[in-house]
């Protein structure tokens, strides 16, 4: 079964992110058909209004496109687009909170770099 | 699907089920008849043959069948999207068909019996075909009335209050009394008739009896329709 959803974040955004994740991870490749709304509803046990809301964000962003009567597909260049978007939010989403947390714990910048090298060396960063 | 088809569908499904139960009834009565017939000599035992023998049990069978089947059929049909109106007309058609079918089958059995054992002393109506038809008509009409009596009781017990349940029993008694007055029967029914009208030996002509019975059937059907028109279906 699926991972539980974070109750502090709108579900439709989390749906959108999960589909994006699958594209970034190559579980869904360009021109692949993505699961239908009904399949997603059945899988996530989330209302189809919510699922549709998440999907329409992806359609609006040009990540996926709809073929009438056939289904929805991953758009050409979707992965590239997502990677760029994610790089844009990487600083805000990860670096800033990390440095805030490090500040609370009194971890210096050089310590952070050392820790990063240590994690990389141990292989714990592998997905 | 047009609603005329619906009535035909209800009629044929009801009749099929009713006949399948009636077939068992006829088989059982036939066996009893043969057993009794072999134990007792013909002289002691029902000189008037199978048809007269099955007639009384057939009335009771129709009454009980109607009482026991009405509720579940009503629920079944409405649950499957059939209107009360279509249920009513379909059931009415089926019961007429089955009542005649029972007596026609009985007549066939009786004529086979008559063919095998041409009992000289038995008061057989097979002397004339007109008499046979009259007997089939009389018995069938009576059976229809008994079925209707059961239908009426079951309808009131299905969807109505204590007062109307009791009234339906009273109505049933009235129907039976009316029938015995119309057909001047012997035995139990006649003694009731005599209670009400001790001086009159009822000698009605067949035409009047049939006409009266048809009127009675129409009246009871009208009452049943009135009470099933908007009846609430039990969600059980």
């Amino acid at each position: 079964m699926s991972m539980p959803f974070d109750e502090h974040k709108p579900i439709f955004l989390q749906i959108k992110e999960r589909i994006e994740d699958q594209i970034v991870n190559d579980q869904l490749r360009e021109q692949d058909q993505i699961p239908s709304t009904t399949q997603l509803v059945n899988f996530y046990k989330i209302n189809h209004l919510t699922i549709s809301k998440g999907i329409s964000l992806l359609v609006d962003a040009g990540i996926i496109y709809k073929k009438r009567g056939v289904g929805m597909f991953v758009a050409e260049g979707a992965k590239q687009k997502l990677l760029e978007q994610r790089k844009d939010v990487f600083v805000d989403g990860y670096i800033v909170p990390m440095m805030q947390e490090a500040g609370k714990l009194g971890i210096s910048e050089s310590d952070i770099i050392a820790l990063m090298k240590q994690v990389k060396g141990s292989g714990r960063n592998e997905l | 699907m047009t609603f005329k088809n619906r009535i035909a569908q209800v009629a044929s499904d009801s009749a099929k089920y009713h006949l399948s139960v009636a077939a068992w009834f006829i088989v059982v009565v036939s066996i009893i008849y043969i057993v009794l017939g072999s134990i007792f000599t013909t002289n002691d035992f029902t000189p008037s043959g199978f048809m007269a023998f099955i007639y009384r049990p057939a009335k009771i069978f129709s009454l009980i069948y109607a009482i026991s089947a009405t509720g579940s059929f009503l629920t079944f049909f409405v649950r499957h999207g059939v209107t009360r109106r279509d249920y009513f007309f379909g059931t009415a058609i089926a019961l007429v068909l089955v009542s005649f079918a029972i007596m026609i089958i009985a007549a066939i059995i009786a004529s086979i019996e008559n063919f095998i054992f041409p009992a000289a002393e038995s008061v057989s109506f097979f002397g004339s075909s007109g008499l046979a038809l009259a007997a089939i008509a009389e018995y069938s009409l009576n059976i229809i009335c008994y079925y209707l009596t059961g239908w009426l009781i079951a309808t009131m017990f299905y969807g109505y209050d204590m007062l109307r349940k009791n009234l339906s029993i009273l109505g049933a008694a009235l129907i039976v009394i009316m029938l015995s007055m119309l057909w001047g029967e012997s035995g139990f029914e006649q003694s009731i008739t005599k209670m009400f009208n001790p001086h009159s030996p009822w000698e009605l002509s067949l035409a009047i009896s049939i006409l009266g019975t048809l009127l009675l059937i129409a009246l009871v059907l009208w009452i049943i329709r009135a009470f099933t028109k908007s009846i609430t279906i039990k969600m059980k």
Binding site: E7, H8, K9, P10, I11, S36, T37, T38, V41, N42, Y44, K45, I46, N47, H48, L49, T50, K53 | M1, F3, R6, Q9, D13, S72, F76, F77, V78, R79, H80, G81, V82, T83, R84, R85, D86, K229, S230, T232, I233, M235, K236
Partner: protein, 296 residues
């Protein structure tokens, strides 16, 4: 033809008891509706009116503008599945399916066979000998395979175990996607069915409490989590659904939408805002307010 369904000022009275009071609402075609209410709220009565099992005391129940009661055309297009008493049903499973196939114009026998396999229904077994879960599965099979433009399931899951209910919900969604139709599911098990509903209708003590799209309904509730004192100050004057406390952290679910201002303020105060489940909202909205009655 249109299968838009409407209740218009419907009252239903049994003797002195008023089971439904002035109910009016409309159901658009081809949507899945959740009819929510506590036991005895009037869910079954309401649904039995739609299926023409009874006539409203006053008011009208219409489909496509025509009254349903005793309308031959419409009644054949409405299917109601409920927890049926089959204790005297000597027919076999296959007989019941055949009967439904005869009377339901859109009945799909091959889909019924598919459902029989999914639910592992024994075709040759007498219905009265089935377990309660199997009886419900049979009702659901007939209800779905009938493909009626108005399909009603009144607590049709009774007796089903969790995996069977799962099959029911999945098949319902999939068949609805293939053959869109109005489906009404009445339930008080909101938590496991909430994702099925496009719109919900809540009735309470025979009255219509609300009809809302489910996503909009969910926005009626917010959970506020943070340091106890900060949370308490923030939610003062708001309608509280429930409070949970762990150490110095408190999580309060409130009823009502927050303004943009309040959202900003919550962020400034370091409060986490979250979702509230349909179940929580439902429980709150249908609580029996005995104290209110005393005051009235």
């Amino acid at each position: 033809m249109s299968y838009e369904t409407a209740f218009h000022q419907v009252n239903m009275t049994y003797g002195n008891f008023q089971a439904l009071k002035d109910i009016s609402f409309r159901l658009e075609e081809e949507k899945i509706y959740g009819l929510l209410g506590r036991n005895g709220a009037g869910k079954s009565t309401l649904l039995s009116l739609l299926a023409a099992y009874r006539k409203p005391s006053t008011g009208t129940v219409t489909i496509g503008g025509q009254e349903v009661f005793e309308n031959s055309q419409l009644m054949s297009q409405v299917a109601l599945s409920y927890n049926t008493d089959y204790s005297e049903e000597s027919d076999k499973v296959k007989d019941m399916l055949d009967a439904a196939a005869c009377y339901r114009p859109n009945f799909d026998s091959s889909y019924a066979e598919h459902l029989v396999k999914q639910f592992k229904l024994p075709r040759d077994k007498q219905v009265k000998k089935l377990s309660n879960g199997m009886k419900s599965a049979l009702n659901v099979t007939i209800g779905l395979a009938s493909r009626c433009p108005v399909t009603i399931f009144d607590e049709a899951y009774v007796g089903m175990d969790a995996p069977t209910r799962e099959i029911f919900y999945r098949e319902l969604l999939e068949d609805h996607a293939r053959h869109p139709r109005t489906i009404i599911l009445s339930t008080h098990l909101v938590s496991e069915m909430d994702y099925l509903f496009e719109e919900i209708i809540i009735i309470k003590r025979g009255r219509l409490l609300m009809q809302e799209r489910s996503d909009q309904f969910l926005e009626l509730g917010v959970s506020v989590t943070g340091a106890t004192q900060v949370v308490e100050d923030f939610v003062r004057g708001m309608k509280r659904l429930s409070t949970r406390q762990l150490g110095g952290t408190t999580s309060v679910r409130i009823y009502g939408e927050l303004s943009e201002m309040q959202h900003k303020e919550a962020r400034k105060l370091g409060l986490e805002l979250g979702n509230v489940s349909m179940q929580d909202l439902f429980i709150h909205l249908t609580e029996e307010e005995d104290t209110d009655d005393v005051q009235k």
